[in-house]
């Protein structure tokens, strides 16, 4: 039987899985608490709108009016959904 977390991951993409130029909404953060807190303070809080600018090994996003670079490892821990509800 799937856990609650697995069910949620099944419904959401992570930030590395969306293409450049796509606007998504942050659904959940799956990282250690201190990293989560820093991400939220920099604008990646739940329900925030994020536009992925560049993909690759490390990626660049537009959030809260600024460009933020993230390592792919961290981006995988940011679960998102399409703004129009697509998954």
């Amino acid at each position: 039987m799937e856990t609650f977390g697995q069910q949620m991951e099944g419904n959401f993409l992570n930030l590395t899985q969306v293409g450049p130029g796509t606007e998504v909404r942050v659904s959940r953060l799956e990282c250690p608490p201190t990293t989560c807190q820093r991400l939220r303070e920099m604008g990646f809080c739940e329900n925030a709108l994020v536009t992925k600018i560049r993909g690759g090994a490390d990626l660049v996003c537009w959030v809260c009016g600024t460009r933020v670079a993230l390592s792919a490892r961290l981006a995988k821990q940011i679960l998102v959904e399409h703004v129009d509800g697509r998954s």
């Binding site: 130029g21 953060l29 990282c31 608490p33 201190t34 990293t35 989560c36 807190q37 820093r38 991400l39 939220r40 303070e41 920099m42 604008g43 809080c45 739940e46 329900n47 925030a48 536009t51 600018i53 560049r54 690759g56 090994a57 490390d58 660049v60 537009w62 809260c64 009016g65 600024t66 460009r67 933020v68 670079a69 993230l70 390592s71 490892r73 961290l74």
Partner: protein, 682 residues
């Protein structure tokens, strides 16, 4: 003046790269270093500003913060000042929040936290031109009404809005009104209880709710009753899997989104800007590396080509001065001291000023344009496998100029193990003090006519790559094998590109020139006089070479020679190695004194090329020059670096470790060059 009739202290707070230092400089007339990347300010700076009525106010410029939950050492410095826990400055009487108007939502997040400190708050709505350029319509009066603190639009880099800001600072600033963001119910209950247990012991203006949130976050200051309640609530939230810190961030952002929406302030356009266009090139996985390599090559070619003209002028100036002194003064000890001691020592180092200025010109352009953060992003891919994040790149890049600001810049690195590793490898980045050594040895190794400028630039680049590559390898050893733990993920703000301000770059070059000349006029002058003395006395012969061999310095060199002989170094080089323990560039001035060549660069190079062993063999063969350069790539020949490493690591353990590992590496590297060189038939 505050209520006690004392001078008022105002803390300048804001997100990284919001323009705090630029505004601080504009208000105080000081020359605090600024740059277009996060983390330029890593310690508090104070300066005096004047209100429109002439009242003097002490401003404290603080490192950039994203929130009042500090993680890195530079953020902790800001937190301590705001809470009156920093030595040297009193608790501020007010806070001037500097916010980037083009990025209001995130910048105001910090403002909502600052408003809970119990201090009067004034907000400088900075970079309004950038915001308007992005199509963001700002309404400062609406923001003032909705948030309950005064907003003043400014463009610090153009000096706009400063009059209004000085006028506002001269008035009695009001305390922010009651909290306006809605606390989620479970959290409100916890904060209410903790605040009630603390309220009576707090001064009237201090917000008990703000203090309660700090206690929940793990702060240890407060009455025992409130602390016990905070521990109990934290435990309860943990059991209920309620992420209260996420709820606070979410509630603050929700409130700010509503405020900005009601004030008609949008987030502006995000894509299609020229910043994105440049990024598509400089962040490209292949082209990005080409751009980085091209810029580094341009730097080194400039160091050898453009700098050669002013270097010749300085060289000619010192030669003429030496000849004039010898003609004007009667021969004797005092004339020898001036020509062979002072002029040879100081002139031998001052000649490299143009090369150092070119290095700082390029670094200034990279910093001010916003490229540095991109380079950090690019290098994260290389740094991650060795256990570091791209954040360590900026301190390491600063170390190319000088390891001291580089080590201080590690305060922006949050992870303590990452920070320590970065401090340990920072001196391996070839600093500007190595330029005189590399240049002299490169010239001694190969005649100018045989190698084009780009060839020397490539050789110099090779030395920088050797230092950097070794640093990365050692970072892997220190971080993964010695200190343990995983590498932290990269989260880095990329500021928009800006046209570098000539004034900022020129100012930085001027400051570095002064530092360099001050060193030449103090440390190097003193060491030159000392070296002249120990290499001239006791007088045993009229023959200079016989006299040097029997001098105090010569005796020390001969004593050392068996140890350094396997590296291809003779006793005279040994004198240079010992003398340059305090500062690397002293090696060149020492050699000028040892070879009695005055302050002329060409004279020193000729003397080195013709120096021989007792059996007639040349000392400065290309292999020995390379061996010596490799020694200087690795050796920690800088007392100031040792001192700053001691301060930043809080003890002698790590600086001593640095000295041992770097000296060992220098010896081993230089020895390997000799072994491999001879094996290949050189």
């Amino acid at each position: 003046m505050n209520q006690d009739g004392k001078k008022r202290w105002v803390a300048v707070v804001g997100n990284p790269n919001a323009g705090k230092s630029t505004l601080f400089n504009a208000l105080t007339g000081l020359r605090q270093r600024v740059g277009n990347y996060p983390g330029v300010t890593v310690e508090k700076r104070t300066g005096t500003a004047f209100t429109l009525h002439g009242e003097a106010i002490e401003l404290i410029d603080l490192p950039g913060l994203y929130s009042l939950n500090p993680r890195s050492p530079d953020e902790k410095i800001a937190w301590q000042v705001l809470h009156g826990e920093s030595s040297g400055v009193p608790r501020p009487d007010a806070v001037l929040c500097v916010v980037d108007a083009s990025n209001l939502e995130r910048n105001l997040f910090l403002v909502t936290q600052v408003m809970e400190l119990g201090l009067p708050v004034l907000v400088a709505l900075n970079m309004v031109d950038v915001a308007e350029g992005r199509g963001i319509r700002l309404h400062p009066n609406d923001l003032s009404l909705k948030l309950g603190v005064k907003f003043i639009p400014t463009q610090a880099h153009r000096g706009k809005g400063l009059v209004e800001l000085r006028a506002a600072l001269g008035q009695s600033l009001a305390h922010p009104g009651p909290r306006r963001w809605t606390m989620p119910p479970p959290l409100a209950a916890a904060v209410g209880q903790i605040a009630a247990a603390w309220r009576e012991s707090l001064p009237a203006e201090v917000r008990a709710e703000g203090k309660a949130l700090e206690l929940l976050a793990g702060s240890n200051s407060g009455p025992e009753g409130a602390k016990k309640l905070a521990v109990a609530w934290r435990e309860r939230f943990r059991k209920e899997a309620y992420d209260w810190s996420a709820a606070v961030v979410h509630a603050r952002y929700s409130y700010l989104q509503t405020v900005l929406k009601e004030a008609g302030i949008g987030s502006g356009i995000s894509g299609g800007s020229w910043t994105d266009w440049i990024d598509s090139l400089v962040l490209h996985p292949v082209a990005g590396w080409g751009v980085l390599a091209g810029m580094m090559m341009a730097l080194f070619v400039s160091i050898f080509s453009i700098a050669s003209y002013p270097m010749e002028w300085i060289d000619a100036g010192f030669s003429a001065l030496g000849l004039w002194l010898q003609g004007w003064m009667p021969p004797g000890i005092f004339c020898d001291l001036l020509v062979d001691g002072v002029l040879a020592g100081v002139g031998g180092v001052v000649i490299f000023l143009p090369q150092i200025l070119i290095l700082f010109f390029f670094l200034g352009l990279l910093e001010d344009s916003g490229y540095l953060a991109r380079a950090a992003f690019l290098l994260d891919r290389v740094m991650h496998p060795v256990g570091l994040s791209g954040k360590s790149f900026i301190p390491l890049l600063s170390s190319y100029a000088c390891a001291i600001p580089g080590i201080m810049a590690t305060r922006t690195v949050e992870d303590p193990k990452d920070r320590l590793t970065t401090i340990l490898i920072a001196p391996l980045m070839s600093c500007s003090a190595r330029i005189p050594v590399y240049t002299t040895l490169l010239a001694a190794a190969v005649p100018v006519a045989l190698v084009p400028v780009w060839g020397k630039a490539a050789a110099m680049l090779g030395l920088y790559v050797l230092g950097t590559g070794s640093a990365f390898l050692l970072a892997w050893v220190f971080r993964k094998k010695m200190l343990g733990g995983g590498s932290p993920p990269l989260i880095l703000e990329l500021p928009p590109y800006r046209c570098p301000a000539f004034q900022t770059v020129a100012l930085r070059m001027w400051e570095r020139a002064l530092i360099f000349l001050r060193r030449a006029g103090t440390v190097i002058l003193a060491l030159s006089i000392l070296l002249w003395f120990v290499s001239s006395f006791p007088k045993s012969s009229e023959d200079e070479s016989v006299n040097l061999a029997a001098s105090f310095a010569g005796q020390l060199g001969h004593w050392m020679e068996p140890v350094i002989r396997p590296l291809g170094f003779d006793w005279r080089i040994g004198i240079g190695l010992v003398a340059s323990f305090a500062a690397r560039e002293v090696f060149v001035s020492t050699m000028s004194i040892v070879y009695h060549v005055g302050g002329e660069e060409e004279g020193l190079i000729q003397a080195m090329r013709t120096a021989t062993w007792p059996d007639g063999g040349l000392i400065y063969t290309p292999i020995t020059c390379l061996s010596l350069m490799v020694f200087y790539v690795y050796a920690l020949q800088c007392l100031s670096t040792v001192a700053v490493a001691k301060r930043e690591t809080g003890g002698w353990k790590w600086p001593v470790f640095m000295m041992i590992y770097m000296t060992g590496l220098a010896y081993l590297g230089a020895w390997l060059v000799q072994i491999v060189g001879h094996a290949l038939g050189f």
